[in-house]
Symmetry: C2
Subunit: 340 residues, 2 copies
Amino acid sequence: MRSTTKDVAVAAGVSLATVDRVLNDRAGVRHDTVDRVNKAIEKLGFTRNLVAANLARGKSYRFLFLLPRTGDQFLEGLISRIAECNVAFAGEMVQADVWRIHESDPHQIANVLGAMDHEQIDGLAIMAPESPQVRDAKARLVERGIDTVSFIAGQITSDQDDFVGIDNHAAGATAGRLMGRFSDRAPGKVLVIAETMHARDSLERRLGFDELVNADYPHLSVLPSLETYGDSERTERVIRTSFASHGNISGVYILSSEARLPLEIVLGATTSGRPVIIAHERTPFTEAALQSRQIDALITQDPGHLVRSAIRILRARKDRREILSSQEKIRIEILISENI
Amino acid sequence: MRSTTKDVAVAAGVSLATVDRVLNDRAGVRHDTVDRVNKAIEKLGFTRNLVAANLARGKSYRFLFLLPRTGDQFLEGLISRIAECNVAFAGEMVQADVWRIHESDPHQIANVLGAMDHEQIDGLAIMAPESPQVRDAKARLVERGIDTVSFIAGQITSDQDDFVGIDNHAAGATAGRLMGRFSDRAPGKVLVIAETMHARDSLERRLGFDELVNADYPHLSVLPSLETYGDSERTERVIRTSFASHGNISGVYILSSEARLPLEIVLGATTSGRPVIIAHERTPFTEAALQSRQIDALITQDPGHLVRSAIRILRARKDRREILSSQEKIRIEILISENI
DNA sequence: CATTTTCTGAGGTGCGCACATCAAAAAGGT
DNA sequence: ACCTTTTTGATGTGCGCACCTCAGAAAATG
């Protein structure tokens, strides 16, 4: 049988209230009675029943995901995972909402963060590029008692702020390794396509990719990044131009999260003997492309894991609890047609 | 504000106890009052607070992992993940113990399963090869109200019995694809090393591997499986003999979960120009080998995920709750030195 | 009127929290 | 220095959280 606070109280010769004070280390207990209680806790092997504690506290958790306003299938996937979590965690008093923000407007983001109310929101998962304004706004949120995690994009701002996402430098290197091993020994050029190179994650992926390919596969020459700005026409233009002006493109690396647009155009632009194609993130489109062998590999992070991890971290922080860090590490997954 | 059973009771004009009976669909409520209560529930958008329900029920979850008695680092990893879960879930009244069984003795396993007491154990995660005895024993467990999941090994016995683990046929195919793409075009032989080919998982991996390699990489010829029986001397003997008698071994696929022993010997037996080596599972040893580029890839399943998934499934079944199936699908992960 | 069915009431579950209590220490007055 | 008043520190009391359970009352049924 599990021991309860009552048992501890009896064993220590104090009342429930004192045990409670020790457990939640509140002031107003003499040092030696704290020791007595702690000894009793240890002797009985007492673990407080979190379920009961949360009930008594009337605790509930309202979290908010700030996601970019623009986006395609990857973003949709995230949003539906969040909806799933709302169902799965409804019984545990967790509710997660989504707000869309203009990711390219740090001023607006900072405003939104500044208006966040401690009474209404317990924690925030922010998917937005780094910027001084945003970082300052985050710091002020922490002061006001609202926890934040950086979600997928951006990076850790302080020790109050975890990063939920993959190591993008390593992700780029992983793509680079696969590009090298999947290519044959013949010299060739590698096209790198990004939505924008202003985001830190894109830069890191590119860097990891370049370092590895240049070091280990010198016969491949990596071309300057093409930026699509998420615009259909521009994407088509820059990719077609590249294919036209470069003779032997043996590889294509699409490093943005939303691969559909560039992928469609690359697949349309290649004639016989398509290049090795590596993209990021699993979406209905990329999954189909992988399955039909139109692309060679995907470097992914599990959106469900991302969402749940952000929620678990925020919840643990509100409870002042430790997290199981091995569970929260987001893996860089490699998907090929066989393990999809 | 969330509505409670009390609100529902008032709205439906009945007492709390009646609401409770409707919620847990117990007998003794007239049809029309059931309807009244359900309407009230719908109108108020009531969701029962699982936390409070579990507290009131005094519910606790005692689960047991039956793991093989023999094993090396992979098994150690599993056990320490289980220990982690015990800490992490202690506040939620779940406790998981480990029993070691002789996996090759179905009779003993069946005995152990038969002696399982419904009062003491709520659910079982069984890592043991398929056999008629074990399957029957499992079926009887279900009748006695003890839920089971097949863990890593074996397969689904009934619809009462989930399988927690990867699709081993696909895992073998994944290994095959990587073997093919990582090898050059020259003809060569591929060594396949298993602990035993009597286990269903080994057979499936081998089958998936063979099908893919034979179809897509005909220049590679896959040799008959070497069986180590987990024995150090035998392992050394069969592997050295193979290397001696076959001239051009260009690939090695180690398909057992415990790769250390065969890997050590393979690494010692190869001279210049080592073959492409692919193994299963991440352990301290295989991780180090990957990092030092002594092997090329690992096909893994996350032990932490496996353990937590088994626990979540067993818990959901005891609560008669749905699981979030997307969370419980165990991924076939590909590890290379860059995404470790 | 005796059953059977349906429903209510009150008392748990482990814990948190606001408030009450009570002794000891500090401050103030003579 | 002595006594009274106020403050502080340390501990206990009791109710509430949202739900479950079970004995027994009320209502329906024959």
